[in-house]
């Protein structure tokens, strides 16, 4: 069973439609393209199509073309002809822009399956395949937070269609439907919402293994809770801290409106306080 799930994660697509393509000569600049690895280990970049979005796409050398869901293609006003959908503009986060890109509007079973269960941790709308990727030299390094895309002078021949006698993907399509049905049975909806972390309003300083409050912003949650300049923060949520990183880690998952218990040292005194996290950063 779990193998079936895993299979549904492989973004390998046989063929798009047929047709020819002409492109502008590329410029020789390098673009830093932000990416994230999804929970499913896909390389996720954000794009806007015809100025709309951002949409979440996967970088997929196993796909022959730019592929997006039918709903997205419709939403952005793509024009479909001979199996290809043409758009005015594709923007890739990081400042890169492609004029008149062509793609294929089809609901990939892999994305359908992942989205129905929220497996990737983010809702996926499509993939960037060969007809986009081939125009760039792309550098990947998962120790970095951005990819490097450099346009290359390469006229990518159009991807050819492979005729699959059985049609489709040899029975793999059912995985998408299967996962969809499973999540419906369970009555669970994936949660793709992202909340901003709560605000405290304190500037900190790390000095010889101590975490010292350097500034308290007037009227901030820290101020209201009674935190003072010079206080040494010893623990948060009952866990002792040895660095600012520990504190950031402890607060990392607390959205606005939640509260945080802190234990501080002021002179020789130890004080406990509760900070009600507010809005801001």
């Amino acid at each position: 069973m779990k193998y079936l799930l895993l299979l549904g994660l492989i973004g390998l697509v046989l063929s798009p439609a047929k047709a020819e393509e002409k492109k502008d000569p590329p410029k020789a600049t390098t673009y830093d393209v932000p990416y994230r690895l999804t929970d499913t280990k896909h390389i996720h970049v954000r794009v806007k199509i015809n100025g709309k979005g951002p949409f979440n796409f996967i970088i997929d050398t196993g796909a022959p073309a730019l592929i997006m869901t039918e709903a997205i293609a419709k939403k952005v006003g793509g024009k479909t002809e001979d199996g290809w959908t043409t758009f005015d503009k594709l923007d890739i986060e990081g400042g890169l822009s492609i004029d008149k890109p062509r793609g294929v509007a089809v609901d990939m079973f892999q994305l359908k399956g992942m989205n129905s269960m929220g497996l990737a941790g983010v809702e996926l709308h499509g993939v960037l395949g060969y007809n986009v990727l081939a125009r760039f030299k792309i550098e990947y390094d998962f120790n970095e937070t951005k990819l490097k895309w450099t346009p290359v002078d390469f006229k990518a021949p159009d991807p050819m269609r492979i005729k699959d006698k059985n049609g489709g993907q040899g029975g793999l399509e059912m995985i998408g439907t299967l996962t969809q049905v499973m999540s419906m049975l369970g009555g669970l909806k994936p949660n793709f919402t992202v909340h901003p972390r709560g605000f405290i309003g304190a500037e900190l300083e790390s000095k010889s293994n101590e975490l010292i409050v350097k500034t308290v912003l007037a009227g901030s949650p820290a101020d209201k809770a009674g935190l003072k300049v010079g206080d040494r923060i010893e623990s948060a949520k009952g866990k002792s801290l040895s660095s600012s990183q520990d504190l950031l880690e402890a607060v990392k998952k607390l959205p606005e409106g939640t509260s945080l218990k802190l234990s501080i040292k002021r002179g020789e005194d130890t004080k406990d306080m509760t900070v009600e996290l507010g809005k801001g950063l």
């Binding site: 046989l14 996967i58 050398t61 497996l119």
Partner: protein
Amino acid sequence: MKKLLATLLLLPLGVCFVRADEKSLEKPKTQTVKFELVPSGHFIVSVKLNGNGPYNLIFDTGAPTTLITPRIAKDAKLAGDAKDKPLIPLFGMMGQVKVKEFSVGDVLAKDVGAMIMEHPTVKAFSQEYEKKYGSIDGIVGFPFFAQFKMTVDYSTKEMTFTPNGYKASDVMQDLMQTMMSSMGSKPQPRVAAPAGLWGMELAKSKDDEADGVDVKAVIAGMSSDAGGLKTGDRILTIDGRWTDSIADAYTATSYAKPGKPVAVVVKRDGKEVKLTITPKLGL
């Protein structure tokens, strides 16, 4: 079965990106691999498994796992080591193996996890290209290329690989672990946490679909103020990342380390202005 389904349904949730900064002691060297671009727009590389082969595999950045066909698993004497065999061997699945020495061209990666199976799409490829390139026997995915700084260039049909010390965690293990730990709980929203203190408040109304977010307040004397940000500015990007929602803006600041200047592009009086803001240590 019901239990299994229920467990599977609890899969969503959690961040499992593992990032290891360990550097190997040897000086990393860059190696080049030529690839064969096939007419369907995919590309094929030459792979050896524990010195056996070479075999033709598709190179797929969209594959979280590596696949090898039962044919080459047997040929490379790996089939006997397969673990975690499925009860119902759909698509000829024979379970998982760790390939001690997995080479793409001359580039060697150690202990690469691979699934043994007959992937219908790979089979279709193989039938299409067998005459010209020989049989195609699998997919090279994330467990291999994550171990390198990699470049892919279609114009020269070359890839380069430099070991980068990144330790890729196993996607299957991660998914199962996430699932176990989230048993019985509802999927929670993620929280985007800024890495530093900016001294500003952002706002965006529900019906506002234009690019960017509004600056609602700038705290005097703090980083944003020092960098020239003003109340009423519309932030378009932070460090090259789109900030079209408050969640996006927070996500962008989660990468901006305290003390490091970042470029912030704002719209002010109809014009784009580029600012530099250095967030402070704090929260």
